[in-house]
């Protein structure tokens, strides 16, 4: 099975080259944010206020990690269900986000926004939190520490595995993959 290596943050060219069904290994800097952090970011956008992180080209990982044991960079850190971020994702893309990583289905508005703003949605393996934590080399809270597991974190990742679900061409692996194996 072919695996593409990509470097974060991403350019439009990087994103356009990715197709639904591609397996990728991500290295570089990505940001962790889930429900509560998204709510705050979008509230700032609506008030035209500056954001605590620069979104241009970034990959956002929907994760609320377990606490790190002494000596660990981060505790178990698998993806959370992405559908809860659907309401916020088109605005995140409009503000420059290039990719997001989670698990589970997205709504049509998100899929349309991925095409419009050139972005991709990827899934990491839900439930593989221990394995995925090993691919995160450094974790630092950069905004909203009071949110605990839901704070925004800057993550340095190395060969972080993910699969492209929705691409800039409007393809959806969840629909096409199931069609291929249905009987």
């Amino acid at each position: 099975m072919e695996i593409k290596k990509i470097k974060a943050p991403l350019t439009d060219e990087d994103v356009t080259a990715l197709k639904a069904g591609d397996n990728v290994l991500i290295s570089g800097v990505i940001y962790a944010a889930r429900d509560a952090a998204h709510k705050r970011l979008v509230e700032l956008m609506n008030k035209n206020e500056s954001l605590p992180i620069e979104l241009q080209g970034q990959i956002i990982y929907y994760v609320g990690p377990a606490p790190a044991k002494p000596g660990q960079a981060i505790g178990s850190a698998g993806p959370t269900t992405s559908g809860r971020m659907d309401a916020y994702t088109p605005q995140m893309l409009e503000h420059g986000m290039k990719a997001c990583i989670g698990k589970g289905k997205r709504d049509q508005a998100v899929k349309d926004a991925l095409v419009k703003y050139k972005g991709v949605y990827m899934a990491a393996v839900g439930g593989a939190g221990a394995l995925l934590s090993k691919r995160i080399k450094k974790s630092e809270v950069v905004a909203y520490p009071e949110l605990g597991a839901e704070a925004i974190r800057r993550l340095e990742v190395e060969d972080f595995p993910a699969t492209v679900i929705n691409d800039v061409h409007g393809n959806d692996l969840y629909i096409e993959g199931a069609k291929e194996y249905a009987r």
Partner: protein, 281 residues
């Protein structure tokens, strides 16, 4: 009358919280490994390989299998010959949860109120506790931490008796299809049939506690479990919903007598990390 100190409950609950979140039950792990041989999709195989490696990393490093270490759900079968001393059962369990989640570096995932404040309680309490009074002088505690992603993919339907077996099959299979990738497949599907609105939800939940793949003792329901498993896997959803032949590892049905006017049905789904431990005190 046998006496049992609340502190003994707390100590055991503390250990159970850590044990269940770090170590996957052996029966389930064996079934996941077996699915690697039968999975048809290369991407699906890759997912299963990652899940197997994940379980091994969690075990070796003593870290949780999944960052969502769940709502702490307890089923207590309390022998009526046992007298609890030195505190309440509820507080004894909650104190065990508090300690286990802190010591085990487990995520605290409980919000104070469901609608308005949603502030984290900070210690993963309160637990959800169900208590049955049973004959004897023993106490059996089952701990089944429940992650949000799979729990959100649960449902209850008050069906008509005339819907029959076909109706139940359509209900369960279509529900799994709609859930798709969200509950982190491969999944274990708990199905309740019969009883009342709240009873049937409990049946579906308790179905998930059975050793995985162990059939219902009633042959008719055991056959229905196999029929459902085949149909669910034939949807092609596969591991993580990426397409493949392993959407579910097992379907467990639990039943209860039904009102003449009703046929309640419920589905409760567990992800591949169908975590549960039990102890008899």
């Amino acid at each position: 009358m046998r006496e049992l100190a609340a502190s003994v409950i707390t100590e055991n609950v503390d250990e159970m919280c850590q044990q269940a979140n770090i170590y996957l039950p052996e029966d389930l792990f064996a079934l996941i490994k077996k699915s690697l041989d039968t999975e048809e999709s290369p991407v699906g195989k890759e997912v299963i390989k990652q899940l197997i490696e994940n379980v091994e990393i969690a075990k070796n490093e003593k870290i949780p299998i999944c960052q969502d270490t769940g709502f702490a759900v307890f089923f207590v079968e309390w022998g009526q010959e046992v007298h609890l001393t030195g505190g309440s059962l509820e507080e004894a369990i909650n104190e065990g949860v508090r300690r286990g989640y802190e010591k085990g570096y487990l995520r605290k995932s409980i919000a104070t109120d469901p609608l308005y404040e949603r502030k984290n309680t900070g210690d993963n309490t309160p637990a959800v506790i169900y208590t049955d009074l049973v004959p004897g002088d023993k106490v059996k505690i089952t701990f089944a931490p429940k992650g949000g992603g799979s729990e959100n993919m649960s449902t209850v339907r008050m069906m008509k008796p005339s819907d029959g077996e076909e109706g139940v099959i359509d209900f369960v299979v279509n529900h799994c299809k709609d859930a798709g990738p969200n509950p982190c497949p491969p999944i274990v599907v708990g199905v309740g049939i019969g009883g009342t609105f709240e009873k049937v939800a409990m049946l579906a939940k308790k179905a998930l506690l059975r050793p995985v793949g162990q059939p219902n003792p009633d042959k008719r329901f055991a056959e229905l479990e196999q029929k459902l498993l085949k149909k669910i896997n034939n949807l092609g959803v596969g591991p993580q919903g990426f397409g493949g032949s392993t959407f579910a590892l097992a379907v467990h049905i639990e039943t209860y007598p039904s009102h003449i006017a009703s046929m309640a049905a419920a589905v409760n789904i567990n992800c591949h990390a169908s975590r549960h431990v039990e102890r008899i005190l």
